[in-house]
Every structure is written in structure tokens, then in C-alpha cells.
Symmetry: C2
Subunit: 460 residues, 2 copies
């Protein structure tokens, strides 16, 4: 077990001895990511500074057959950065340069370890918007966001991370450094490797630099909230909004259990008698935003909303968004083990899906609250149990198996934005079928003949 001393010496020669750690206490923080219950202790943690250093590490690993798990902030929820076969965790958090933010070209170029929030702030300082806004954005890295094709609250109007990646520098497992795409909105020279790397979860290459598209910052943003007797009513209101020709920037929901948990936690003054809360927001010119939100409010009222409120100022707008953003911490307080999931269904079937989730939870005698993105059908059913109650954890596990199967039955998917990782791999074939699984394995082998890069994840 473990890496030979010769390997450690070689790693130290590549990145410097300060940037290789093998002591038990240094490895422990890298034995987990943000996924509960999953754990895998690496043999070494290595912090490279450049793509050349990454290439040298990967060449060594391919030559010696050593697993390498690339990692940004480790904030993923799919056990995607778990060294469950030992080997090296390659942490990219020293690569934090924002290389450029170009307002003329509407793009930024950053090293992979820059946090998404830092990129967004650098863009905002030049009056530009980096649109992807995953919940983890204050800690998660751009490299990690691209590797998982992170989503967020603005998916319907703005699309997800893949829509914003213009180019990447990636190191292949065999050590070649490739540059895909670039500073161009249109480029069809070759297979779309930029998009293939996006969402490949560190199994095809290590991303070291990204070029991303920015947008002019919308002049104004505003938010409103509507309470409904039931999620089915909220679902009908969402359908009516889309049918009215409105694609708002934000369209989020909380079910009744989430509303209660958030109110207990944050005391925002939410209505506890509602069956569902719909949070809606839009951005753009001030008059367009006001018109859009007013119209959404009218449509909510027409579809049985108990109450509709538009935020009268930015502070109140932020407070409303906080209700959605704190759903997870609010629910997490209810137990010692929180399992947050990520099933997705076609938008019109959202309320139906939440109904099915509630039935499944009841059947398995676990408590599952659901919040998520009503605009794109991306649900986050969340189960909270006592960490020491193994029977309950087991029932939760089985309940989620049923939830994924139900999502697939409804033409949905097992993960909308969190990724497959080690956690969802057992469910992937049910979604993709055997032929597509075999194809993923052949693609993986085309990039990683020795199978050293994030083994046991996508492509395995």
C-alpha cells in the first residue's frame, strides 16, 4: 500500500517539497469532500502551481499506474473528488490568477483554482456578469465548476456553465497539454473538446486554465415571492408564466417542509401556512424588469397564490433570495446527516415529481423536504437523519434509489447539476443504458489509457 519513497521524491522534485504532503494528519482533510458518508484516504496530496507541473505529475502517474484525483475546493456533493483507490489528490487551489477580464471581448481568462465568486467579482468590477451561480460559488473553483458543468439559480434564462466556457487548457492523463477553443464565440474546428471536458468530472483531463464568456451586467435585478396552497398550484403558475412568453432569470421553489425549516432557522417572516413558496426574479432594464415581475405576480394570483410580494428594494430582494440559499443549512440543522439530492424532470412535471417524492419518503419512513429550480425542473430532495441511526440512513438510501428511478420514468435524470461522481455511478446505467455506458468507457480509454485519472468515477 501507499506510494514508494521514490515516487514521493519525484513528486517533490516536480512541485517542491512544500507542496507534497503524506502525513496522516495532512491527508485526513482530503479524505472527504462535501458528500456525506463517502470517504477515501489518499496516499499523498500534491499542490501544483502550473500546467507543466500537472503534466509532470500525470506522466509519472501514468507510468507508475497511480490514481490521481483532481480537486478544487472539494465542495462537490457526488463524491466526485474522492480518492477511494488511494493515490494522489491533486489540489489546484494554488492556481488562483485571474489572468484577464476583457470588457471589449466580453471574456475572462482564469486559472482553474480561482473561486467562482472571485471571478464574478472581478467581472462585476468591470461592469460584467459571469452568469453561472452555483450555490457553492463562494468556495467552489471555476475549474471545479467547469469539471462538473455547475448549474445554479439562473439556468433557464442563462443556461449552465457549459454555455459560458469558450476555451480550456487541459492536461491529458498521458501528460500532453492541450488548448481547446479560445476567445471565439464561433469555432467548429474539431470535435467539441471544450464541451466534452466540461462535465467530465476530472476523468478525462485536468483543467488548468479556462476562458469564459461574460455578459454586460444587467442594469437592475428584482425579486418577488408568491405563496401557494400547494406545489401543484405553484407548478401551474410556472407553466402560465412560460406560456406568457416570460423566461425569468430566477424561478425557485420551496415545499412546505422547507418553508418551515428556513423560517425556524432564519426568521425571515415566511408564511408557514403555505404549501409552497415560489421565488421569482428577473434582470435587465428597469422598466422591463418591473413589467416582467408585475406580470408574473398577476399570473401567480390568477393561479391561486395566497399572497404575492415584490421586493421594494435591493436589500429585501437579497433577503428573499437568502430564503432559497439557506434552505440547505436550515434543513441540515434538523439532524446530523443531510443527504442532498439532485433529480431533474421536465419542468411541467415538477409538482408531480415532488408528490412522488413525498410518497416515497412516507413509504420508507424518512423525512424528505424538497426545494429547487422550478424554471428548469431541477429538484433538490433533501433527507435529514441521525448520523448514528444506520437503519434510517439505509432507508434514506433506498428511498433515493426509488426517486432516481421515478425521475428516469418521467423522462428526467439522476443528476441535473451535482454530477455523477462515485455516489451516482451505480444509478448511471439506468439513465444511459448499456450501450451508452460502454461508449463512455471507450471515450475514457481514448483519453486515459492507463485509467489513472479519477478512477471509479465517470467512464468506469
Amino acid at each position: 500500500m501507499g506510494l514508494g519513497q521514490d515516487v514521493i521524491v519525484e513528486l517533490e522534485a516536480i512541485v517542491g517539497s512544500d507542496h507534497v504532503r503524506t502525513a496522516k494528519g495532512d491527508l485526513e482533510p482530503y479524505a472527504r469532500d462535501a458528500t456525506p458518508l463517502f470517504r477515501g484516504v489518499p496516499d499523498a496530496v500534491v499542490w501544483p502551481r502550473t500546467a507543466d507541473e500537472v503534466a509532470a505529475v500525470l506522466r509519472l502517474a501514468t507510468r507508475r499506474g497511480i490514481p490521481v484525483v483532481p480537486r478544487g475546493a472539494g465542495s462537490n456533493l457526488s463524491a466526485g473528488t474522492l480518492a477511494d483507490r488511494g493515490g494522489i489528490v491533486l489540489v489546484l487551489t494554488r492556481m488562483t490568477s485571474i489572468l484577464e477580464v476583457d470588457a471589449d471581448e466580453l471574456l475572462a481568462r482564469v486559472e482553474a483554482g480561482v473561486t467562482t465568486a472571485a471571478l464574478a467579482e472581478a467581472a462585476a468590477a468591470k461592469g460584467l456578469l459571469y452568469a453561472p451561480d452555483p450555490g457553492s460559488r463562494t468556495v467552489s473553483t471555476v475549474g471545479g465548476n467547469v469539471a462538473t458543468c455547475a448549474g445554479g439559480l439562473r439556468g433557464l434564462k442563462y443556461g449552465v456553465t457549459r454555455n459560458y466556457v469558450l476555451g480550456a487548457t487541459a492536461v491529458l492523463p498521458t501528460g500532453e497539454i492541450i488548448r481547446t477553443g479560445g476567445r471565439l464565440w464561433k469555432d467548429v474546428a474539431g470535435y467539441d473538446l471544450t464541451r466534452l471536458l466540461t462535465g467530465s468530472e476530472g476523468t478525462l483531463g485536468v483543467l488548468t486554465e479556462l476562458t469564459v464568456a461574460l455578459l454586460p451586467m444587467p442594469a437592475t435585478t428584482n425579486t418577488g415571492v408568491a405563496y401557494f396552497p400547494s406545489l401543484a398550484d405553484a407548478g401551474r403558475a410556472v407553466t402560465a408564466v412560460i406560456a406568457d412568453g416570460i423566461v425569468p432569470a430566477t424561478l425557485e421553489f420551496l415545499d412546505a417542509k422547507c418553508i418551515g425549516a428556513v423560517e425556524d432557522y432564519a426568521h425571515l417572516g415566511l408564511r408557514r401556512d403555505a404549501g409552497a413558496l415560489l421565488l421569482f426574479g428577473d434582470d435587465g432594464g428597469a422598466d422591463a424588469v418591473e413589467r416582467s415581475l408585475t406580470r408574473i405576480g398577476e399570473l401567480c394570483t390568477r393561479h391561486r397564490a395566497m399572497e404575492v410580494t415584490l421586493a421594494e428594494d435591493v436589500a429585501r430582494s437579497e433577503a428573499l433570495l437568502a430564503a432559497r440559499r439557506c434552505s440547505l443549512p436550515a434543513l441540515s440543522r434538523l439532524g446530523t446527516l443531510t443527504i442532498l439530492e439532485d433529480a431533474t424532470v421536465p419542468r411541467p412535471r415538477l409538482a408531480e415529481m415532488v408528490g412522488r417524492i413525498d410518497e416515497i419518503a412516507e413509504r420508507y419512513d424518512v423525512s424528505i423536504a424538497t426545494f429547487g429550480h422550478a424554471g428548469d425542473g431541477n429538484l433538490h430532495p433533501t433527507c435529514v437523519v441521525d448520523r448514528h441511526d444506520e437503519a434510517a440512513a439505509d432507508r434514506a438510501h433506498k428511498a433515493f434509489g426509488d426517486i432516481f428511478a421515478t425521475a428516469i420514468d418521467m423522462e428526467g435524470t439522476i443528476t441535473g447539476e451535482h454530477g455523477v461522481g462515485a455516489a451516482k455511478l451505480p444509478y448511471l446505467q439506468a439513465r444511459l443504458g448499456a450501450d451508452q455506458m460502454a461508449l463512455l468507457r471507450r471515450i475514457k480509454a481514448a483519453f486515459d489509457p492507463a485509467g489513472i485519472l479519477n478512477p471509479g468515477k465517470l467512464g468506469s
Copy 2:
């Protein structure tokens, strides 16, 4: 040479004898696509009706090592559907069902042979917009547009075809039928095969059905035109527009040679004394569009525009767009051989690139006029020569070689939207490098172990 009679019999058994043609006169129309100078006669033309028939043809082809070239309308400009190694041209134009247009879900599902215009019309009938609008859209198919990741006039604001493909049914060369993606805006279960197939130019699989995203139809659209003393002035105006936070739907340019050719051809009343024409358009709410176009007009005037006119009605707006859309036919009249190219550079370097193109044209003593997409730096330098003047055609060929090299030097690419095909393959390594070329070949082999699907194109 040719296919054995046993193969023909088997093909007839799969698709019916009416849908297999091998007579010389029947093959000739499929020996060319829209690319001048390129030609390759197939041994058979086959028109399948279903994915199952496509699968049976491909299984046969893989078993017997027969090249298969998938083809929609054959309107591509990169010799991408050329049977230059003989074999079967597989024409998908019998697969023309629009399976659904769903206004609640903002999506359509179509067979691959539906024309892009037919899809756009079916969407418009339900108040929805299919955003990609390549110049070929009245004849080209959705399958072909996805296979080439077609662009168009709305690339900067709306993105290209890849941004609108939600899911695909594809037949692998070995006969498996896979379904990627689906009715979802967020789905990260597996590698992004949907995007990998998009732009793969029929070398990885045969697309038989596509699910595409639609948008609410914008309430209004309007267009304006500005004349400038030089393209450099027009380029500075474009930069000023973007810097002002405006990302208009359309931002097209014609150089002086194009203006003259279009005016000779269509008598639209264009100003012949201008060095460049900038066509700008936007869509959305009426007040927002008016504000946007008025502001663009002001910025053009501030950057030395000789004249700025906003279209006063829809008919005039259409007439202005026609000036851009008829650039190619107008130029084609000037000779008997038209070579339309597709180099792309970062947007701020557009005028510089056109200057370089003019220098190159002069050096090789050929006439090259340039029009294109100022919003996304996608240029269409167009050379017109006499078909019988082989020396001129040869000089044109060399000039384009220099143009591609120049585009790459300027961090651009050899093709923004037309594709690589057989025509650009000789230039691809200069853009991608040897390591990435080798990777493309390994990916190709992962899909197509026998190398039967569109051989000699991408991935070769």
C-alpha cells in the same frame, strides 16, 4: 470497385428497393455538395426512413468495411458530405416528421431531415423562436445543422446551434441506437455526448432525431444600417456598442467590394462611396429595441459613421437584412467559381483581419471581398474567379492558406461555422496541434472502430 450485388440486395432488404440507387445518373447528384471543386462519386445512394433502418445499414457497413457518408441537404461548404472514398451516401431527407412543438416545455422534437426553416415555422406558429439561423436554413436540415454546429446571424446574443440541442438520437457506426440528453435544461449524467455529436460532422454517429430548445418569440425586431468611411471605423463602433453594454441580436458587416456587388445585383439603394456597411438589429420589447437601436446609431455616428438609418417598418427591415443575405449570390455573379470561406478572429481584431485579407488578395492577384458577422468575428472572405482559369484558382487556394494561417496567428480559427469536412482537414493540425489531432483520432476510433463513417473527414 463498387459494392457487390449481395450488398445491394441487403441494402434493398433494409430500406426497400425504391430507396437504393446505384445507376450512374442517380449517383451524380450526390457526387457533390455545395463546396466548389470537390467531387466524389458514391457507389450507392440510400434513403432510410427510420433509426432502425440506419442501424441496419451501419451494421452492414461496419461488417463489410464500406464507407458511409451521412447527408442532409448537402448544402455544406466544407466538402463534409463527399463520398470521396466511394461507398454509400446515406440521405436522411425522408425523415421529415416534426414530432412535437411544445410551448409549455419550450422545445421541439424533430426527425433529422426536417429543414431548419420548417422547424422555425412550426415553432413560430406557436409563438416560439428557434434561434439558430444559418444562411442555408431554407434548404439545410436540422440534422445537418446539428452535425456541423451551424451558426448564423444571431451568434453573439443567442449563441450557435450547440446551445439549442437538448437531446439527440444517434446511431453509432456499429449499429447501437443511443439517446443522449432529453427534455431537460440541466442534465450532467455522463459525458456530454449531445455536444460531442454536435459539430462532429457525421463522423461519430448518424443523427436521426433531435430535441431542441425554443424561446418565446420576441415581441418586435428592428434593423438599422450605418455606413462608414472604413472597416476600421466600423470595428471601433462595434467595440463601442459592446462596451456600452449592448449585445444586439444582429451585427453584420459588408466591405466596400461587397457593397458594390450587392448594389449591382439587388439595387437596394446602398451607398457606394462607403468603405464599410454595418447592419445592426435587435429584438425584444418594443421600447427596449427602440432604445437599443437608437443608442447603437448614436455610437456609430460618434465613430465616424457617414450615415445611419433605422428601418421605419418591417418591410424595410427585411430589405436591409436582404443586403446581407444576398452578399453571396451577388458576389457569385462576378465569376464562375465562388470560394466562400469562414475564418474567425476575436471580435476586436476584425478590421485588422480584413486588412490582412486585402493584402493577401493583392499579393496573390485575386479579388477577395469580405462580409460576415461583426458581432462574433466570423468573417466570410469570398473569392470569385473564372472556373476555367486554373492558375487563378490555384492562387486563390494559396491565398486562403495564408488567410487561415493569419487567423490562427491572431488567436482565431480556420472555421467558425462551416465545418472542417474534407476541405479544411489539411489546415486543422495548424489550429489544433499534433496532440489534439491524435486525441481526435482516438475519440473517432472509440465511436467507429472500423472507420466506416464519413472517412477522410474529422477524426482522420
